[in-house]
Amino acid sequence: NAGVTQTPKFRILKIGQSMTLQCAQDMNHNYMYWYRQDPGMGLKLIYYSVGAGITDKGEVPNGYNVSRSTTEDFPLRLELAAPSQTSVYFCASSPESGEAFFGQGTRLTVV
């Protein structure tokens, strides 16, 4: 019963470095999402995907990229990390009901 799995759980990056946040789901959901959570701001949508090979921007996509080569995986790429990208990142997946299932999150600090 894995659900949505995110790795790593914690990461510290230096300014200008890049990294990939991994997300995998085993529920055969077509819809997948990346959110970032900042204190007092709720969750903001970064990117989403409605199926393998299809991705689109959310509210705050700048500085990020995604790909969706399989139904299961939806990695988030940070290029040229900046302090403004310090946040907690959540991956989620959803069947067509709109009920999202969330991973445990990745806490990223950019210094």
Binding site: Y31, Y33, G40, M41, G42, L43, L45, F90, S97, Q104
Partner: protein
């Protein structure tokens, strides 16, 4: 644009007392509405959802919520709070492509 407002940033409640968390939304059509709970260091867990039909919906952990179209509200309630209910609560509305728009959250502290 669709939006979700949670007017209360922080609520403190005594164990055994009742709890009500407010949520107001701005949306052109009949929305799909959700409440999620986030315990410290954890991901979000769905408490309950409203799609259509009965405007009073029951969720997990003894929570319920009432959809009031006239007030554009979807308030969450629990009759008797337990210490384990201390967490952050998020109201959300579904926008197109099954994306969720979240409120800023309400932190609940439970005192003994």
């Amino acid at each position: 644009a669709q939006s979700v407002t949670q007017p209360d940033i922080h609520i403190t409640v005594s164990e055994g007392a009742s709890l009500e968390l407010r949520c107001n939304y701005s949306y052109g059509a009949t929305p799909y509405l959700f409440w999620y709970v986030q315990s410290p260091g954890q991901g979000l867990q769905l408490l309950l959802k409203y799609f259509s039909g009965d405007t009073l919906v029951q969720g997990i952990k003894g929570f319920e919520a009432e959809f009031k179209r006239s007030q554009s509200s979807f308030n969450l309630r629990k009759p008797s709070v337990h210490w384990s209910d201390a967490a952050e609560y998020f109201c959300a509305v579904e926008v197109n492509d099954y994306k969720l728009s979240f409120g800023a959250g309400t932190t609940v502290t439970v005192r003994a």
